[in-house]
Structures are given as C-alpha cells and as structure tokens.
C-alpha cells in the first residue's frame, strides 16, 4: 500500500512538471515576437462536390505575409439542415469559430444566447467591401434589436429561375405555349397522354417538381409557385399592406390547392414528385420525363448541367415562358426576396480581440488581389483575361487547373465571400458555349436575363419574418400534403375545419406576429 502511494505521488509530481510549461505559456509567449493571429473560418463551399483549397494553396501564404493571419478553413456541409446542426452544436459547446457562415434563422437563436458579436463597427473598417457588398438592405437583414449581428453578403441573384416548357414537345403535338391555367392543364394532359416525344411509350408527364420549401416558400414549395402564383397566393406571406398575412388564409389558396389536386388526380404531374430529392428531379428532366418545370438558370443551362439533356435529346428544346394567368388574372413565377449569405463573428472571437483582423481579412478579400485570387485563382494558372478583362478558362498551360475544371475548382471555394454579382462575375460564370451534340449556342446568362423579365411577386424581407415552431410547421405541411394526396378529402368544409385547427394550434398567432414584424420593419408595400 505504502509503495503504491509513493508511486502515485511520484506520478502526480511528474505530471505537474510536464504540465508546468502549459500554465506558464502566457509568460513565455510575452517574450516572443507577436506571431500570426489564427482566424478560424467556416465557409460555405462554392462547389460542394469539389474539395477544400489544398494545404499549399497560395492564398494561405499571401494572407499570412500581408495580414499576419493564419487562416484555418472548414467547409460547412452543403445541406442547410446539416449546416444548422453543425453551427448549433458548436454554439451549444460555446465553441463557435471566429468567422462563420450562418443562416438567418439560426442567427436569431444564437444572438439571444450572447454568442454573436455585433458587426456595426465593422463597416467603417472595410470601406471597399462595404461599398460593393453591404448596402442598407444588407445591413438591416441581420439586425436584431437595432444592432447588426451578421455581415450579409450578396447571395444568389434574384429572379434567376423560370417556368420552362419543352418547345419540341409543343411542336410535335401542334400546341401553342399555354398562357392561362386552363391552357396549361390542356398542355399537361397532352404531354402526359399524347406521347409528345413520339417514342411510342406512355412514359412522359406534364409537370415535374419536388418539395423544396423554405421560410418564405412554404409547402408545396418553390417548384409549384407558378401554379400558386396564378391564384395570387405564391409564397408563404402576402407582403402587400392592404392584405398582409399568411397566404394560406386567403380563399384563393383553396382554389390553388384544388388545381394542384386536379393535376395529381389526373396523373399529369410526375407522380414521383413527392418522393424526389433535388438530384432525382434534375436527373428526371434530363431523361425527358416531363415537359414543364420551374428550374434555375444555371441548373438548366450551364454547360455541365445541360450536357446530359443535350446528349439524350439533341432535338430537345426548353424555352422560358410567362407565368400562366389564373381565373382572376394573377400570374407570377413566385415570390422573390433579397438573397444574402450571412457571415457572423463569434463573441468569443471578439473577446479574443480578433475583430480587427477579421475586418482586415474581409477587406483584403474585396481588394483586386483578393477578389481575383479567391474568385478565379492565379492568373496564368487558373485563368486568363479576355480582351474585355473577363476571366476565362482559356490558353492555360494545364487545362485541368482552369477555375472551371475539377483541378482548379478547389482554389475558388471561397469565391462566394468575394463575389457580389458584378458583371465580370456573371460573364465569367456563365460564358456562351456551343453544346457538344446538338451544336446549339447556349448561355445561362441570357437565360437568366429572360427569366428576370417575367412576372414575379415582390416579397422582400419575407424571409426575415417569424418562423413557426416545429409542431405548427409540421401541421401546416402535413395538412396540405394530405389534402393533395387524398388522405384528407379536399372540400370547402374540410378545408375550413383544418384552417380553424391550424389557427388554434398557433397559426393565427404566427400570422399576427408576422404582420406586426413586417409593419415594424417597413416591409409591406
């Protein structure tokens, strides 16, 4: 026993000796010259299927040499829910990184916890960046109780989606582009039952979709907004001052539901729509399963995305059409709001005195050097400039290292932190090209410009309105889907009963809070 005690004491003494330098670190550090400041950044990857910047990426060294910053990068998961879980798990452990991308919904939960630093003082420290990235709408996007808690960078371009139809199918069947909901029904029927691709098989449908929802495009979500837009009830919220509130409460919402139910019952919408995830949906239109859809410009027309469709259907052709008009003359592709990517600074980083360094880093990113390096890589290696000064992936010694090629994509993973949807970016991102099989000239930028001319519903700020709790959200989504799938019979009586139950569960309160918030923040028009 005595011997064991002696061994224990000796071990403790030894451990104490070993750990002594750890406790005296502060004194030892003070004597050394100031080393680089470590900034931990959790970023949203620009190309989710490509890896992170390599360890020997030239950017790390430049940032260290010029800014005295040791940048540590971690890519956030591409899925939004997974992103939220990762950020919130770190927050729960009070272990948030110094600078991180975060969705606004999550930010609303982290701010009351005292985990996020205010960024109001940052704008003055970043004059170049503030000019290009942070206008007044951006500054108010992440403002809570009068203080900004997030740097809202420009996100994806607004109105960059459209309603597309297979023109070759219309031509094959001798049909005109539908302009009303009745005509749309007729075309969907023809696409489903009249063999529009002429392959002799009953394997096509009128409309294709999947459930893509967010806090301003509630169930059934974005892909069916042109249908709901025809009834004037696209989007979760009506943001007009005269009729502000949840669209769900409007009588026209019932009419839109009845129209969608008819599409389902007649089998003219791809029956897989409830089971599809995004990739399944995109694989489906490339395989010619349906002839009408709402799709994003680049997801449709960018070279890599259009290539499989072009190969499968060299004579196939999609065109962007106007949103169909409903019985009362309404039409809309869907609601649009200002899109932002929010970067927040943790309170921990502020406490450690890193805010100024973060401002320096972000400002450098907005400089010409940072902008081109993060946006396209190294000139002569990852890109060259054309006669107009637009970066292009041409005349490079190694084509695989081009910013658009697999070998070069990794060095542009932070490009969303520097891009602000300027013309150079758009020309570089969406170059004109000739398709491989059908030799068509395509441009995702031209497609986007056409999409932007169509009729949309302004809903700026509707993505900042209060969100329902998980049970109410489920009640909303489940109830609507059950009416569409037939589990609940869609009659006026059943609909009103369900609405009453929804209101009792908290729906009315959610509506009232949303309207009050919109009024307080001058979001109604």
């Amino acid at each position: 026993m005595k011997k064991q005690c002696i061994v224990c004491i000796a071990l403790i003494a030894l451990l104490s000796l070993v750990s002594l330098p750890l406790f005296s670190q502060g004194t030892a550090e003070a004597a050394k010259p100031a080393g680089p400041v470590t900034i931990e950044l959790w970023y949203g990857a620009a190309i989710t299927e490509a890896g992170p910047p390599p360890a020997d990426w030239v950017g790390f060294q430049i940032i260290k040499d010029k800014l005295n910053i040791d940048l540590k990068l971690t890519a956030l998961p591409s899925n939004e829910s997974d992103q939220d879980v990762k950020v919130q798990a770190a927050a729960a452990a009070n272990n948030l990184p110094d600078l991180f991308m975060v969705r606004r919904d999550v930010l609303t939960r982290l701010v009351p916890q005292g985990l996020i630093a205010s960024v109001d003082d940052m704008y003055a420290k970043m004059p170049i960046r503030t000019k290009t990235h942070y206008d007044e709408v951006s500054r108010s996007h992440a403002r809570f109780n009068g203080k900004a808690y997030g740097l809202a960078d420009p996100g994806s371009i607004i109105k960059n989606e459209g309603l597309l139809i297979r023109k070759d199918w219309l031509d094959n069947l001798g049909l005109a582009v539908p302009t009303t909901t009745d005509e749309l029904l007729a075309v969907m029927r023809a696409f489903t039952f009249n063999d529009p691709d002429g392959n002799g098989k009953n394997d096509t449908y009128g409309y294709g979709a999947f459930q893509e929802i967010n806090n301003y495009e509630a169930w059934p979500g974005r892909r069916l907004e042109p249908i709901f837009g025809a009834f004037g009830v696209d989007g979760t919220w009506d943001m007009t001052a005269s009729a502000a509130g949840l669209n769900l409460f409007k009588p026209e919402f019932y009419d839109a539901m009845a129209y969608l139910k008819q599409m389902v019952d007649e089998g003219i919408i791809d029956p897989n729509w409830l089971a599809y995830k995004k990739d399944d949906f995109r694989a489906a239109w490339k395989q010619g399963r349906f002839g009408i859809m709402r799709e994003q410009n680049a997801a449709y027309a960018a070279q890599a995305n259009y290539a499989p469709f072009d190969k499968n259907f060299p004579n196939g052709e999609w065109i962007v059409i106007d949103a169909p008009k409903g019985p009362k003359g309404h039409a809309s592709i869907g609601p649009y709001t200002a899109n932002f990517r929010i970067y927040a600074i943790s309170a921990k980083a502020e406490k450690e005195g890193k805010k100024d360094k973060i401002a320096q880093l972000l400002e450098w990113m907005a400089s010409d050097e940072g902008y081109y390096l993060l946006g396209w890589g190294v000139e002569g290696v990852n890109y060259t400039k054309d006669a107009n000064g637009v970066p292009v992936a041409a005349n490079l010694p190694d084509a695989n290292l081009a910013f658009s090629a697999p070998g070069g994509q990794t060095v542009t993973q932070l490009r969303n932190m520097v891009f602000y949807n300027g013309d150079i970016e758009l020309y570089a991102r969406y170059p004109k090209y000739v398709t491989e099989t059908s030799k068509k000239e395509m441009s995702a930028l031209d497609v986007m410009r056409i999409m932007q001319t169509k009729k949309w519903t302004a809903a700026i700020g509707s993505d900042t309105l209060p969100i329902p709790n998980a049970d109410l959200k489920r009640f909303y989504e489940q109830g609507l889907s059950e009416f569409i799938t037939g589990k609940r019979v869609l009659t006026k009586d059943n609909w009103n009963k369900w609405l009453d139950e929804f209101k009792k569960l908290g729906g009315q309160d959610w509506n009232d809070k949303g309207v009050a918030f919109a009024k307080e923040n001058n979001l109604l028009y």
Binding site: K3, Q4, S81, D84, V85, Q88, A89, A91, A92, A93, N94, V106, R109, L110, Q113, G114, L115, D203, Y205, Q211, W219, D270, P271, N272, L274, A275, D280, R289, A347, N469, A470, D471, K473, R474, F475, E477, Q478, L480, S481, E482, I484, T485, K487, L505
Partner: protein, 297 residues
Amino acid sequence: MRDIKRHRSVYVLLAIPLVYYIIFKYVPIFNGQIAFKDYMALDGVLGSQWVGLKHFKTFINSYYFVELLRNTLMYSFGKLVFSLPLAIILAIAIYESNRPRLRKVVQTLAYLPHFLSWVIMYGILLALLAPGDGILNDIIKLFGGKPIDFLTNTKAFPWIVILSDAWKEMGWSAIIFIAALMGIDPSLFEAALVEGANSWQRVRYITLPSIRPVIVIVVLLRLGTILDAGFNQIFMLYSTPVLSVADIIDTWVYRQGLLEFQFGLATAVGLFKGVIGMFLILGSNRLVKRFGGNSLY
C-alpha cells in the same frame, strides 16, 4: 500489483473499451442535468438556470406526443418482430447448409446491405418503388395493376420502413446467432441423426433450444433501446405526406430540439428514453428470471 503486471496485456485490452465507455457514456451523464435547465451556452452546464421538469412537460404536452410514441413503438416492435426471426432463420439456414461455397456467397450477400448508408439505400428504394418508374410498379403495371406510391402512402410506408430495415440488417444481426450455433456440441446432431431425426426436428429440438439464451439476451438488449426506432433510416425515407406515420421521437427531437437550439428539450427527451429503456430491461430481465430463463445478470 504483481497480478496486474503479469496479466498486463489483458488489462491493456480491457482499458480500450473502458476508456471509450468513460469518455462517451459516463462523462456525458454529468451533462444530463441540462434536461432540467434552461441551457445557455455562455453560462455552461453548471451556470444555466434550473427549470425543473419544464422540458419534460413540453415534450409530453406537445401536440404530436401520442403519435410520436405510437410511431416509435410501432417501428421498434415491428423491427423486432420481423428482423429478429429473419436473422435467426438466415443464421440457421447458413449453418445447416452443407455447401460451403453457397454458404459464403449467401453470407456475404446478406452482410452487404449493412455497409450501405441509408442515403444509398434511399436511392435503391426509389429505383425499386417510385410510382412513376420504379421496378416494382413497372411489374404491377405489367399485370394491369395501378401503381402504388409506396414511399409517400401512409399505409405502405410503415411496411417499407420495417422491411427495408430487415433487408439491410438481417445478415449483420445473424452473425451473433451463427456464433451461437457454432458453439452447439456436434455430438447432439450426430445422436439425432442416429435416432432418425429429420432436418426440421433437429432445428426444433436441438438448434433452437441451444441458441435460446442468445435470443433472450438479444431481445432484452433490444428492449433497452426500444424508443430508438432508427433515426437515420426514417430521416432519409420520410417526407411530408407520410409524417403522420413516419415522425418518431428522434426526428421530432431533431427538428424541435437540435434545429431550434433547444438542447435542454433534446436532453430531456434523451433522458426520458433512457429511463424507459432501463425500466424495460430491469422488468423484462426479472420476468425472464422468474420463468427460469437465461437472464442478463
């Protein structure tokens, strides 16, 4: 000390799982107090305010509590009732087979799905079951039937969950039974052969009674996690139209607890599940003991 030194290799082996259990199972018990607190990350576990049973009440009074409990138990018991017998049957079939090559092939094919993630399994299920172009629906249509929306139909969905889990895990679950079968004294089978017992009689009177202790232990251990109905699987397979039969306690906790930053609530539900599981193990173990079976302890 001398004993420890002499058997040090055994102690080293013991240390690895012991350290695992201390770090990942015992240390987190300290954080279980979050279930009774209004957890604020800045205040930490100890500094957060006590709120008593608030989170438990929130969970029990939640709008979907009964449905969540019903669905969770339905999937847990469903998987137990379907997967376990299938695993036992597979184990016996593999053991009884006298074609070693066939045995190996079947064993490998049965294990394989276990190593596929539910993301991949969803892709396979979609290819098989999609109402538009799923293989199964193509067959149904070939015979003049109407396609079934297996993945979005509330009647079909529970069966898809239970059967796909059985398919994925049957081979892996069979391993423990195959190990138990290997331990049966071969002389028992030889004696049965001499007595003229056929295959079925050998299984009924020798094989099944011999592996009964293992079956009891597996069932007891499964009861301990009866409120874990398989988050990964349901999370991948479920969609809005089937929420009424698909939402389980864990998916609710994911949405209400993790996504809404209510870690106290998430911990309270975890604790609730743990306590129920513990009582189920204690109760069923006592029952097994009373009826003379092989209990856990």
